[in-house]
């Protein structure tokens, strides 16, 4: 827009019209996209996409109508969750999930630190940088469940495959965010330690580490939370944890137990979120 007082000649006809209308009391906000052609093209292509996407969905409405009854049952079961009749299995699953979460987060963070250092452009040489970025890309692209399938095939059923899966996923997540944080550090402390003749480890320990530590702690706690949520899923493919129990209960249409498990997951996630918020406030 033109600043006021530079003369109206440079205003386009459309803008002039808008101003005249506004003076008569018919003001409208500026459109998001200035060009009318582009607005039309975008609207039309969105419409076209919706039609195309809708064509690819074939909803079997009679099946949905049948399922509605089950849906109501499921919603109702949230009001009367059944914690007791499968109580033993729920407890074992939950305990396994929690141990898997903690172990995997510790291992994952420990491995993510060197990868993160290697993936930070300002401290790593180019070949190391590309290698570490490659690890991050692979770990981030594939969902935990896909990785879990592979690790279950390699290491057999059980929580160990789950721990390795979660640790692998943690590496990609933590290393990427850590590397970005290292790239954002102030470079004066790095130069200062260099200038005193500190070795590589001293350099990292005294110039980089203090700058990224609060964020590293915050991210680790966040990842702990994510790992717990994921541990509820990878059990579906046999990688241990509460997921297996949940899967069984859903397949048996035992919604009262499923609701109990889901409620427990929600409560634990809420608690850990509250806790990590508290710790983050304390570290920063």
């Amino acid at each position: 827009m033109n600043p006021a007082g530079t003369g109206n000649e440079s205003l386009s006809a459309a803008d002039q019209q808008r101003i005249d209308q506004a003076r008569q009391g018919h003001w409208r906000p500026l459109p998001l996209i200035r060009s009318r052609h582009w607005r039309w093209i975008i609207n039309l292509s969105v419409l076209l996409y919706i039609v195309l996407a809708w064509l690819s969905v074939d909803v079997n409405w009679s099946r949905v109508a049948q399922g509605m009854e089950r849906g109501q049952e499921f919603v109702a079961s949230f009001l009367q969750p059944d914690f007791t009749s499968r109580g033993g299995e729920i407890l074992t699953g939950l305990w396994e999930s929690l141990t898997m979460t903690f172990t995997a987060t510790v291992i994952g963070v420990a491995l993510a630190v060197p990868v993160g250092l290697g993936a930070a452009r300002n401290i790593a040489p180019l070949p190391v940088y590309f290698f570490c970025r490659g690890i991050i890309a692979i770990s981030r692209t594939f969902q935990e469940i896909i990785i879990a399938i592979l690790f279950v095939t390699m290491f057999g059923f059980g929580p160990l495959a789950g721990v390795i899966t979660l640790a692998f996923a943690t590496i990609g997540f933590m290393a990427k965010l850590l590397a970005e944080d290292i790239e954002d550090t102030q470079k004066e402390p790095l130069e200062a330690i260099r200038a005193t003749g500190g070795g590589w480890l001293q350099w990292i320990n005294y110039s980089v580490q203090p700058q990224v530590m609060p964020r590293l702690i915050g991210l680790s706690l966040y990842r702990l939370d994510i790992n717990f949520r994921e541990s509820a899923v990878i059990g579906i493919v046999g990688a241990g944890g509460i997921g297996a129990t949940l899967n069984t209960s859903i397949n048996r249409y035992d919604y009262d137990t499923s609701a109990a498990i889901l409620l427990l997951i929600i409560v634990i996630v809420l608690m850990s979120e509250y806790l990590s918020g508290y710790v983050r406030k304390w570290t920063q």
Binding site: P29, Y49, A53, S56, V57, D58, V59, N60, R63, V64, G67, M68, R70, G71, F74, W95, E96, L98, T99, M100, F102, T103, V106, A137, T141, F142, Q143, I145, I146, I149, L150, T153, M154, F155, G156, F157, G158, P159, L160, V163, R229, E230, A232, V233, I236, V237, G240, L246, N247, I250, N251, Y253, S258, L262, I265, I266, V269, L270
Partner: protein, 270 residues
């Protein structure tokens, strides 16, 4: 300044002794907890399976290479389904999350009780993975793309809702006050004072969630909710690892492209 005297010579210390001991105790406890957890895992693991893990991994990778490119053509339709699940699911999720965020934000909520309900919905949706939603929905609406779209939508509500209501709570109050003082109605204040401030965040969050949803949609087929995951599941069950490798490559390419698009759009709006 914490100082330790060694042979009557003061030596600088980074921390006071008590603080130093507390930190050591913290590490000690953490280490013990880790070992305890590791013992639980180890007890539940059949270590005999582990002994040949290296051979297993080697033969698995051996059977994956080279990928079976002949099935690429037949994977295009499932890939299109996957993208539709993610896109339509995200759109549905945003439609529900948008009003929910206004109910959940402290400064725009009409009533504290409504705020509590909205926060409850957001937390429940966020805590439960799309795959679990999909498992439930498959038993309710039947297997297929529709269940996948609903699962993605249900999961997105919490994510978009949370980030959006935080953005709404962080707006500048001045434009809101200015609008209110002109006698604008509540909806007008929302439209002209709140919405322009959160629009960039909203666009960024939506595209970010779409990018995550593409990734999640690739796996929904494992529980029967349509998309390329169905083909992957079938190939895994047939132990046709060369075909599985092709699916992996396709997923990788799709995810990289969607991440690139999302990064471009977020860069443009923020």
């Amino acid at each position: 300044m914490p100082v330790k005297h060694v042979n009557n010579v003061p030596v600088w210390q980074r921390r006071e002794p008590i603080r130093q001991y507390a930190i050591w105790a913290g590490w000690m406890l953490g280490g013990m907890l880790f070992l305890l957890c590791w013992k639980v895992i180890s007890d539940n693991t059949i270590w005999e399976f582990m002994s040949d893990a290296g051979t297993q991994a080697g033969s698995l990778i051996g059977r994956m290479i080279p990928p079976d490119w002949s099935i690429t053509g037949s994977l295009m339709m499932p890939l299109w389904d996957t993208i539709n699940i993610a896109t339509v699911g995200t759109a549905l999720g945003i439609l529900i999350a948008f009003p929910l965020a206004f109910l959940a934000a402290r400064n725009t909520t009409p009533h504290p009780a409504l705020r509590a309900v909205a926060l409850g919905i957001i937390v429940s949706s966020r805590s439960i993975n799309a795959l679990i939603w999909a498992m439930l929905l498959v038993t309710i609406v039947g297997p297929g793309i529709f269940a996948g779209m609903l699962a993605i939508a249900l999961r997105s509500i919490g994510f978009v809702g949370k980030l959006l209501y935080e953005a709404i709570e962080e707006i500048h109050p001045t434009p809101v006050e200015a609008m209110s003082s002109t006698g604008a109605a509540r909806t007008q204040v929302l439209a002209y004072a709140v919405w322009p401030q959160i629009m960039p965040a909203f666009a960024g969050i939506s595209v970010y969630r779409w990018d995550i949803n593409i990734r999640e949609a690739t796996t929904l087929g494992l529980v029967g909710a349509g998309g390329i995951g169905l083909q992957m599941n079938a190939a895994i069950n047939n132990l046709a690892w060369a075909q599985v490798a092709t699916v992996f490559v396709l997923i990788f390419v799709t995810v990289v492209v969607s991440e690139w698009v999302s990064a471009k759009v977020r860069h443009a709006v923020i």
